[in-house]
Symmetry: C2
Subunit: 213 residues, 2 copies
DNA sequence: GCTGCATCTTGTCAACGACAAGATAGGCTG
DNA sequence: CAGCCTATCTTGTCGTTGACAAGATGCAGC
Protein backbone atom coordinates (compact mmCIF):
# COMPACT_ATOMS: atom_id res chain seq x y z
CA UNK A 1 0.00 0.00 0.00
CA UNK A 2 0.97 3.62 -0.46
CA UNK A 3 3.56 2.75 -3.07
CA UNK A 4 4.81 5.85 -4.76
CA UNK A 5 4.73 4.96 -8.42
CA UNK A 6 5.58 7.61 -10.97
CA UNK A 7 3.10 10.39 -11.46
CA UNK A 8 -0.11 9.20 -9.97
CA UNK A 9 0.52 8.22 -6.42
CA UNK A 10 -2.50 6.04 -6.00
CA UNK A 11 -3.50 6.95 -2.48
CA UNK A 12 -1.77 10.21 -1.80
CA UNK A 13 -4.54 11.66 0.29
CA UNK A 14 -4.35 8.82 2.77
CA UNK A 15 -0.56 8.95 2.76
CA UNK A 16 -0.58 12.67 3.45
CA UNK A 17 -3.08 12.29 6.25
CA UNK A 18 -1.01 9.58 7.91
CA UNK A 19 2.18 11.59 7.58
CA UNK A 20 0.44 14.67 8.94
CA UNK A 21 -0.86 12.80 11.97
CA UNK A 22 2.58 11.42 12.63
CA UNK A 23 4.22 14.84 12.28
CA UNK A 24 1.68 16.48 14.57
CA UNK A 25 2.24 13.76 17.11
CA UNK A 26 5.93 14.53 17.06
CA UNK A 27 5.96 18.32 17.08
CA UNK A 28 2.44 19.59 17.53
CA UNK A 29 0.04 21.09 15.00
CA UNK A 30 1.72 24.49 14.90
CA UNK A 31 4.95 23.06 13.56
CA UNK A 32 3.26 21.23 10.69
CA UNK A 33 4.25 22.60 7.31
CA UNK A 34 2.52 21.63 4.12
CA UNK A 35 5.83 21.62 2.31
CA UNK A 36 7.54 19.44 4.88
CA UNK A 37 4.54 17.17 4.63
CA UNK A 38 4.94 16.96 0.87
CA UNK A 39 8.63 16.23 1.37
CA UNK A 40 7.82 13.35 3.69
CA UNK A 41 5.42 11.90 1.18
CA UNK A 42 7.90 12.37 -1.65
CA UNK A 43 5.67 14.60 -3.74
CA UNK A 44 5.86 18.14 -4.94
CA UNK A 45 5.22 21.05 -2.61
CA UNK A 46 1.84 21.84 -4.05
CA UNK A 47 0.42 18.34 -3.99
CA UNK A 48 -1.20 18.64 -0.54
CA UNK A 49 -3.04 21.77 -1.60
CA UNK A 50 -4.81 19.84 -4.29
CA UNK A 51 -6.28 17.35 -1.83
CA UNK A 52 -7.04 19.67 1.06
CA UNK A 53 -7.25 23.11 -0.48
CA UNK A 54 -5.20 24.76 2.19
CA UNK A 55 -3.73 24.22 5.62
CA UNK A 56 -7.08 24.58 7.31
CA UNK A 57 -8.47 21.98 4.96
CA UNK A 58 -5.86 19.48 6.05
CA UNK A 59 -6.69 20.04 9.71
CA UNK A 60 -10.37 19.79 8.87
CA UNK A 61 -9.82 16.35 7.41
CA UNK A 62 -7.87 15.31 10.50
CA UNK A 63 -10.65 16.55 12.76
CA UNK A 64 -13.23 14.52 10.84
CA UNK A 65 -11.06 11.44 11.12
CA UNK A 66 -10.59 12.14 14.82
CA UNK A 67 -14.29 12.33 15.57
CA UNK A 68 -14.81 9.06 13.76
CA UNK A 69 -12.06 7.36 15.74
CA UNK A 70 -13.52 8.76 18.93
CA UNK A 71 -16.95 7.42 18.03
CA UNK A 72 -15.47 4.00 17.47
CA UNK A 73 -13.58 4.11 20.76
CA UNK A 74 -16.66 5.15 22.70
CA UNK A 75 -18.76 2.52 21.02
CA UNK A 76 -16.47 -0.19 22.28
CA UNK A 77 -16.43 1.04 25.86
CA UNK A 78 -19.85 -0.01 27.07
CA UNK A 79 -22.37 2.16 28.87
CA UNK A 80 -20.62 2.69 32.18
CA UNK A 81 -19.75 6.32 32.71
CA UNK A 82 -16.42 5.28 34.19
CA UNK A 83 -15.48 3.15 31.21
CA UNK A 84 -16.60 5.81 28.79
CA UNK A 85 -14.38 8.30 30.56
CA UNK A 86 -11.39 5.99 30.49
CA UNK A 87 -11.98 5.37 26.81
CA UNK A 88 -12.07 9.12 26.21
CA UNK A 89 -8.73 9.63 27.93
CA UNK A 90 -7.19 6.68 26.16
CA UNK A 91 -8.37 8.05 22.84
CA UNK A 92 -6.80 11.40 23.61
CA UNK A 93 -3.45 9.86 24.47
CA UNK A 94 -3.38 7.22 21.76
CA UNK A 95 -4.55 9.66 19.09
CA UNK A 96 -2.91 12.74 20.46
CA UNK A 97 -2.65 14.48 17.09
CA UNK A 98 -6.35 14.08 16.32
CA UNK A 99 -7.34 15.15 19.80
CA UNK A 100 -5.23 18.28 19.72
CA UNK A 101 -6.60 19.32 16.36
CA UNK A 102 -10.22 18.55 17.25
CA UNK A 103 -10.24 20.96 20.16
CA UNK A 104 -8.46 23.78 18.44
CA UNK A 105 -11.21 25.24 16.29
CA UNK A 106 -8.95 28.03 15.12
CA UNK A 107 -6.90 25.48 13.21
CA UNK A 108 -9.67 24.17 11.00
CA UNK A 109 -13.16 24.87 9.73
CA UNK A 110 -15.22 23.62 12.63
CA UNK A 111 -18.45 24.44 10.84
CA UNK A 112 -17.58 22.29 7.85
CA UNK A 113 -20.46 19.93 7.02
CA UNK A 114 -18.26 16.86 7.27
CA UNK A 115 -17.00 17.96 10.66
CA UNK A 116 -20.51 18.60 11.90
CA UNK A 117 -21.58 15.19 10.68
CA UNK A 118 -18.65 13.36 12.26
CA UNK A 119 -19.15 15.24 15.52
CA UNK A 120 -22.79 14.33 15.45
CA UNK A 121 -21.89 10.68 14.91
CA UNK A 122 -19.63 10.60 17.94
CA UNK A 123 -22.25 12.44 19.97
CA UNK A 124 -24.83 9.87 18.97
CA UNK A 125 -22.57 7.01 20.01
CA UNK A 126 -22.04 8.66 23.38
CA UNK A 127 -25.76 9.19 23.86
CA UNK A 128 -26.43 5.59 22.94
CA UNK A 129 -23.81 4.39 25.39
CA UNK A 130 -25.17 6.49 28.20
CA UNK A 131 -28.71 5.38 27.52
CA UNK A 132 -27.68 1.96 28.78
CA UNK A 133 -27.11 3.09 32.33
CA UNK A 134 -30.70 3.80 33.29
CA UNK A 135 -31.01 3.28 37.03
CA UNK A 136 -27.73 3.34 38.87
CA UNK A 137 -26.35 4.30 42.24
CA UNK A 138 -24.67 7.16 40.42
CA UNK A 139 -26.81 10.06 39.23
CA UNK A 140 -29.00 9.55 36.21
CA UNK A 141 -27.98 10.17 32.63
CA UNK A 142 -28.85 13.00 30.32
CA UNK A 143 -28.27 13.56 26.65
CA UNK A 144 -24.78 14.92 26.23
CA UNK A 145 -23.51 16.44 23.06
CA UNK A 146 -19.80 16.94 22.67
CA UNK A 147 -18.71 20.02 20.84
CA UNK A 148 -21.69 21.70 19.40
CA UNK A 149 -20.61 25.32 19.55
CA UNK A 150 -17.59 25.32 17.31
CA UNK A 151 -16.88 28.95 16.71
CA UNK A 152 -17.77 30.17 20.12
CA UNK A 153 -21.21 31.24 19.05
CA UNK A 154 -23.64 29.38 16.85
CA UNK A 155 -26.67 28.52 18.88
CA UNK A 156 -28.14 25.07 19.07
CA UNK A 157 -31.12 24.34 16.95
CA UNK A 158 -33.38 25.13 19.84
CA UNK A 159 -33.65 21.52 20.92
CA UNK A 160 -34.17 21.05 24.65
CA UNK A 161 -31.21 18.70 24.87
CA UNK A 162 -29.35 20.68 27.50
CA UNK A 163 -27.01 18.12 28.92
CA UNK A 164 -27.36 17.10 32.51
CA UNK A 165 -24.90 18.62 34.89
CA UNK A 166 -23.34 15.31 35.82
CA UNK A 167 -22.51 14.44 32.25
CA UNK A 168 -20.97 17.86 31.82
CA UNK A 169 -18.94 17.27 34.95
CA UNK A 170 -17.82 13.90 33.65
CA UNK A 171 -16.86 15.34 30.29
CA UNK A 172 -14.97 18.16 31.98
CA UNK A 173 -12.99 15.88 34.24
CA UNK A 174 -11.90 13.46 31.53
CA UNK A 175 -11.18 16.23 29.06
CA UNK A 176 -9.21 18.15 31.65
CA UNK A 177 -7.26 15.12 32.72
CA UNK A 178 -6.44 14.22 29.14
CA UNK A 179 -5.41 17.77 28.30
CA UNK A 180 -3.20 18.13 31.35
CA UNK A 181 -1.64 14.74 30.69
CA UNK A 182 -0.85 15.67 27.10
CA UNK A 183 0.50 19.06 28.12
CA UNK A 184 2.88 17.33 30.50
CA UNK A 185 1.43 19.41 33.29
CA UNK A 186 0.59 16.56 35.63
CA UNK A 187 3.08 15.65 38.32
CA UNK A 188 5.02 12.45 37.96
CA UNK A 189 4.10 9.46 40.03
CA UNK A 190 0.87 8.70 38.24
CA UNK A 191 2.38 5.77 36.43
CA UNK A 192 2.71 5.20 32.74
CA UNK A 193 -0.82 4.14 31.91
CA UNK A 194 -3.10 7.13 31.46
CA UNK A 195 -6.14 4.87 31.45
CA UNK A 196 -5.42 3.57 34.94
CA UNK A 197 -4.62 7.03 36.23
CA UNK A 198 -7.79 8.41 34.70
CA UNK A 199 -9.85 5.64 36.24
CA UNK A 200 -8.77 6.54 39.74
CA UNK A 201 -9.36 10.23 39.12
CA UNK A 202 -12.81 9.73 37.62
CA UNK A 203 -13.79 7.64 40.62
CA UNK A 204 -13.63 10.79 42.72
CA UNK A 205 -16.52 12.13 40.69
CA UNK A 206 -18.64 9.01 40.79
CA UNK A 207 -18.34 7.98 44.42
CA UNK A 208 -18.61 10.39 47.33
CA UNK A 209 -15.55 9.10 49.14
CA UNK A 210 -12.97 7.70 46.79
CA UNK A 211 -10.03 6.92 49.00
CA UNK A 212 -6.52 7.97 48.11
CA UNK A 213 -6.10 4.94 45.92
CA UNK B 1 2.14 55.45 29.07
CA UNK B 2 3.28 53.69 25.94
CA UNK B 3 3.82 56.96 24.08
CA UNK B 4 5.77 56.30 20.94
CA UNK B 5 8.36 59.04 20.94
CA UNK B 6 11.01 58.98 18.23
CA UNK B 7 13.67 56.36 18.52
CA UNK B 8 13.53 55.08 22.04
CA UNK B 9 10.07 53.95 22.78
CA UNK B 10 10.30 54.04 26.51
CA UNK B 11 8.30 50.93 27.37
CA UNK B 12 8.25 48.90 24.23
CA UNK B 13 8.48 45.54 25.95
CA UNK B 14 5.33 46.18 27.91
CA UNK B 15 3.60 47.56 24.83
CA UNK B 16 4.54 44.52 22.78
CA UNK B 17 3.36 42.14 25.48
CA UNK B 18 0.01 43.90 25.73
CA UNK B 19 -0.43 43.92 21.98
CA UNK B 20 0.52 40.25 21.77
CA UNK B 21 -1.98 39.29 24.44
CA UNK B 22 -4.67 41.21 22.65
CA UNK B 23 -3.81 39.67 19.28
CA UNK B 24 -3.77 36.16 20.73
CA UNK B 25 -7.11 36.81 22.34
CA UNK B 26 -8.50 37.73 18.95
CA UNK B 27 -7.02 35.05 16.72
CA UNK B 28 -5.21 32.51 18.84
CA UNK B 29 -1.50 32.01 19.39
CA UNK B 30 -0.85 30.33 16.06
CA UNK B 31 -1.90 33.40 14.10
CA UNK B 32 0.43 35.72 15.99
CA UNK B 33 3.17 37.13 13.80
CA UNK B 34 6.12 39.03 15.16
CA UNK B 35 5.96 41.40 12.25
CA UNK B 36 2.27 42.10 12.65
CA UNK B 37 2.99 42.68 16.31
CA UNK B 38 5.67 45.19 15.45
CA UNK B 39 3.25 46.87 13.08
CA UNK B 40 0.65 47.21 15.83
CA UNK B 41 3.21 48.78 18.11
CA UNK B 42 4.44 51.09 15.36
CA UNK B 43 8.03 49.86 15.44
CA UNK B 44 10.27 48.12 12.97
CA UNK B 45 9.88 44.46 12.16
CA UNK B 46 12.93 43.41 14.13
CA UNK B 47 12.18 45.30 17.32
CA UNK B 48 10.35 42.42 19.04
CA UNK B 49 13.30 40.12 18.47
CA UNK B 50 15.49 42.37 20.55
CA UNK B 51 13.24 42.10 23.59
CA UNK B 52 12.25 38.45 23.32
CA UNK B 53 14.93 36.85 21.23
CA UNK B 54 12.52 34.92 19.08
CA UNK B 55 8.90 33.86 18.86
CA UNK B 56 9.29 31.30 21.61
CA UNK B 57 10.77 33.98 23.82
CA UNK B 58 7.68 36.12 23.40
CA UNK B 59 5.42 33.23 24.37
CA UNK B 60 7.71 32.46 27.29
CA UNK B 61 7.24 35.98 28.62
CA UNK B 62 3.48 35.65 28.23
CA UNK B 63 3.51 32.35 30.10
CA UNK B 64 5.43 33.90 32.99
CA UNK B 65 2.97 36.76 33.13
CA UNK B 66 0.12 34.27 33.01
CA UNK B 67 1.36 32.24 35.96
CA UNK B 68 1.73 35.41 37.96
CA UNK B 69 -1.80 36.52 37.15
CA UNK B 70 -3.06 33.06 38.05
CA UNK B 71 -1.27 33.20 41.38
CA UNK B 72 -2.87 36.53 42.12
CA UNK B 73 -6.29 35.24 41.16
CA UNK B 74 -5.96 32.15 43.33
CA UNK B 75 -4.67 34.20 46.24
CA UNK B 76 -7.83 36.25 46.24
CA UNK B 77 -10.16 33.26 46.14
CA UNK B 78 -9.90 31.95 49.69
CA UNK B 79 -9.27 28.38 50.72
CA UNK B 80 -12.48 26.72 49.61
CA UNK B 81 -11.86 24.18 46.88
CA UNK B 82 -15.03 25.35 45.15
CA UNK B 83 -13.97 28.98 45.12
CA UNK B 84 -10.48 28.10 43.99
CA UNK B 85 -11.96 26.18 41.09
CA UNK B 86 -14.24 29.01 40.10
CA UNK B 87 -11.30 31.41 40.25
CA UNK B 88 -9.31 29.07 38.01
CA UNK B 89 -12.05 29.00 35.38
CA UNK B 90 -12.57 32.75 35.58
CA UNK B 91 -8.86 33.28 35.10
CA UNK B 92 -8.88 31.06 32.04
CA UNK B 93 -11.76 32.97 30.46
CA UNK B 94 -10.71 36.47 31.47
CA UNK B 95 -7.10 35.86 30.47
CA UNK B 96 -7.72 33.52 27.62
CA UNK B 97 -4.51 34.38 25.79
CA UNK B 98 -2.30 33.67 28.79
CA UNK B 99 -4.14 30.46 29.56
CA UNK B 100 -3.84 29.14 26.04
CA UNK B 101 -0.14 29.85 25.93
CA UNK B 102 0.57 28.43 29.38
CA UNK B 103 -0.76 25.02 28.50
CA UNK B 104 0.88 24.74 25.12
CA UNK B 105 4.45 23.90 26.05
CA UNK B 106 5.42 23.51 22.42
CA UNK B 107 4.93 27.24 21.97
CA UNK B 108 7.45 28.39 24.52
CA UNK B 109 10.40 27.29 26.66
CA UNK B 110 8.59 25.64 29.52
CA UNK B 111 11.85 24.86 31.29
CA UNK B 112 12.94 28.48 31.31
CA UNK B 113 14.02 29.53 34.83
CA UNK B 114 11.57 32.41 34.92
CA UNK B 115 8.75 30.11 33.90
CA UNK B 116 9.67 27.56 36.52
CA UNK B 117 9.80 30.29 39.16
CA UNK B 118 6.44 31.77 38.18
CA UNK B 119 4.88 28.33 38.07
CA UNK B 120 6.29 27.59 41.48
CA UNK B 121 4.83 30.83 42.78
CA UNK B 122 1.34 29.98 41.59
CA UNK B 123 1.74 26.45 42.96
CA UNK B 124 2.73 27.85 46.32
CA UNK B 125 -0.31 30.11 46.41
CA UNK B 126 -2.53 27.17 45.62
CA UNK B 127 -0.93 25.07 48.34
CA UNK B 128 -1.34 27.88 50.82
CA UNK B 129 -4.98 28.29 49.88
CA UNK B 130 -5.67 24.59 50.23
CA UNK B 131 -3.91 24.42 53.56
CA UNK B 132 -6.75 26.47 55.00
CA UNK B 133 -9.34 23.76 54.50
CA UNK B 134 -8.02 21.31 57.07
CA UNK B 135 -11.00 19.33 58.34
CA UNK B 136 -13.99 19.45 56.04
CA UNK B 137 -16.92 17.29 55.02
CA UNK B 138 -15.17 16.98 51.66
CA UNK B 139 -12.07 14.79 51.44
CA UNK B 140 -8.84 16.14 52.88
CA UNK B 141 -6.31 18.15 51.00
CA UNK B 142 -2.95 17.17 49.63
CA UNK B 143 -0.11 19.17 48.18
CA UNK B 144 -0.92 19.87 44.56
CA UNK B 145 1.57 21.12 42.09
CA UNK B 146 0.35 22.54 38.83
CA UNK B 147 2.46 21.85 35.80
CA UNK B 148 5.69 20.35 36.92
CA UNK B 149 6.51 18.13 33.96
CA UNK B 150 6.80 20.63 31.17
CA UNK B 151 8.37 18.69 28.38
CA UNK B 152 6.49 15.50 28.89
CA UNK B 153 9.37 13.86 30.67
CA UNK B 154 11.60 15.43 33.30
CA UNK B 155 11.05 13.60 36.52
CA UNK B 156 10.34 15.35 39.75
CA UNK B 157 13.15 15.76 42.17
CA UNK B 158 12.11 12.65 43.99
CA UNK B 159 10.07 14.57 46.51
CA UNK B 160 7.16 12.60 47.97
CA UNK B 161 4.72 15.34 47.08
CA UNK B 162 2.46 13.16 44.98
CA UNK B 163 -0.75 15.13 44.91
CA UNK B 164 -3.82 13.66 46.46
CA UNK B 165 -6.29 12.20 44.07
CA UNK B 166 -9.07 14.58 44.97
CA UNK B 167 -6.99 17.63 44.19
CA UNK B 168 -6.03 16.08 40.87
CA UNK B 169 -9.69 15.44 40.19
CA UNK B 170 -10.52 19.04 41.06
CA UNK B 171 -7.79 20.37 38.86
CA UNK B 172 -8.90 18.14 36.01
CA UNK B 173 -12.51 19.19 36.21
CA UNK B 174 -11.86 22.92 36.29
CA UNK B 175 -9.16 22.71 33.64
CA UNK B 176 -11.38 20.61 31.43
CA UNK B 177 -14.35 22.88 31.86
CA UNK B 178 -12.27 25.95 31.11
CA UNK B 179 -10.70 24.34 28.04
CA UNK B 180 -14.01 23.16 26.66
CA UNK B 181 -15.56 26.55 27.30
CA UNK B 182 -12.76 28.32 25.48
CA UNK B 183 -12.87 25.86 22.61
CA UNK B 184 -16.55 26.61 22.19
CA UNK B 185 -17.23 22.93 22.61
CA UNK B 186 -19.79 23.23 25.38
CA UNK B 187 -23.45 23.25 24.45
CA UNK B 188 -25.33 26.48 24.74
CA UNK B 189 -27.72 27.00 27.59
CA UNK B 190 -25.08 27.33 30.26
CA UNK B 191 -25.55 31.05 30.46
CA UNK B 192 -23.04 33.78 29.86
CA UNK B 193 -21.12 33.64 33.11
CA UNK B 194 -18.48 30.89 33.06
CA UNK B 195 -17.94 31.31 36.80
CA UNK B 196 -21.52 30.43 37.62
CA UNK B 197 -21.56 27.54 35.18
CA UNK B 198 -18.30 26.23 36.59
CA UNK B 199 -19.63 26.46 40.13
CA UNK B 200 -22.53 24.19 39.38
CA UNK B 201 -20.30 21.71 37.56
CA UNK B 202 -17.69 21.61 40.31
CA UNK B 203 -20.40 20.91 42.85
CA UNK B 204 -20.89 17.52 41.24
CA UNK B 205 -17.40 16.64 42.37
CA UNK B 206 -17.68 17.94 45.90
CA UNK B 207 -21.08 16.64 46.92
CA UNK B 208 -22.29 13.11 46.20
CA UNK B 209 -25.69 14.20 44.87
CA UNK B 210 -25.61 17.59 43.27
CA UNK B 211 -29.04 18.20 41.82
CA UNK B 212 -29.52 19.14 38.20
CA UNK B 213 -29.56 22.84 38.99
C1' DG C 1 -7.54 6.06 -30.26
C1' DC C 2 -9.30 10.06 -28.65
C1' DT C 3 -11.02 13.05 -25.29
C1' DG C 4 -12.13 14.60 -20.53
C1' DC C 5 -10.74 15.15 -16.14
C1' DA C 6 -8.63 14.15 -11.79
C1' DT C 7 -4.05 14.17 -10.27
C1' DC C 8 0.41 16.02 -9.70
C1' DT C 9 4.25 19.36 -11.15
C1' DT C 10 6.72 23.67 -11.86
C1' DG C 11 6.91 28.52 -11.20
C1' DT C 12 5.94 32.57 -8.69
C1' DC C 13 4.66 36.04 -5.02
C1' DA C 14 4.06 38.14 -0.58
C1' DA C 15 4.78 37.31 4.26
C1' DC C 16 7.29 35.37 7.86
C1' DG C 17 11.22 34.20 11.38
C1' DA C 18 15.83 34.73 12.11
C1' DC C 19 20.13 36.91 11.76
C1' DA C 20 23.69 40.60 10.85
C1' DA C 21 25.15 45.18 10.84
C1' DG C 22 24.41 49.84 11.55
C1' DA C 23 22.06 54.12 13.62
C1' DT C 24 20.38 56.59 17.73
C1' DA C 25 20.07 58.22 22.29
C1' DG C 26 20.33 58.26 27.13
C1' DG C 27 23.50 57.66 30.87
C1' DC C 28 28.01 57.27 33.01
C1' DT C 29 32.86 58.38 33.93
C1' DG C 30 36.45 61.43 33.76
C1' DC D 1 31.46 69.58 29.73
C1' DA D 2 33.49 65.95 26.71
C1' DG D 3 33.84 61.41 25.41
C1' DC D 4 32.47 56.96 25.42
C1' DC D 5 29.36 53.05 26.38
C1' DT D 6 25.61 50.36 26.01
C1' DA D 7 20.77 49.37 25.56
C1' DT D 8 17.49 50.19 22.17
C1' DC D 9 15.71 50.30 17.66
C1' DT D 10 16.35 50.28 12.37
C1' DT D 11 17.55 48.62 7.84
C1' DG D 12 18.85 44.90 4.95
C1' DT D 13 18.97 40.19 3.77
C1' DC D 14 18.28 34.97 3.47
C1' DG D 15 15.83 30.72 3.53
C1' DT D 16 11.17 28.93 4.31
C1' DT D 17 6.30 28.91 4.04
C1' DG D 18 1.27 29.19 2.28
C1' DA D 19 -1.29 30.29 -1.54
C1' DC D 20 -2.19 30.73 -6.26
C1' DA D 21 -1.65 30.08 -11.40
C1' DA D 22 -0.54 27.46 -15.29
C1' DG D 23 1.10 23.43 -17.30
C1' DA D 24 2.26 18.26 -17.54
C1' DT D 25 0.71 13.45 -16.92
C1' DG D 26 -2.01 9.47 -17.18
C1' DC D 27 -6.27 6.95 -16.17
C1' DA D 28 -11.12 6.01 -17.63
C1' DG D 29 -14.77 6.07 -20.49
C1' DC D 30 -16.67 6.62 -25.02
Amino acid sequence: MSDTRGYHHGDLRRTLLDAAVQAIGESGPAALSLRELARRAGVSHAAPAHHFGDRAGLFTAIAVQGYDILAEALAGAGGELLDLGVAYVEFAVRHRAHFEVMFHPDLYRADDPEVRAARERSGAVLRAGLADRSARPTPAAGTPDPADRPGGDGDRDGSPAEPQGDVLAAWSIVHGFATLWLAGALPAGLGEDPGDAARSVIRHLLTPDAGTD
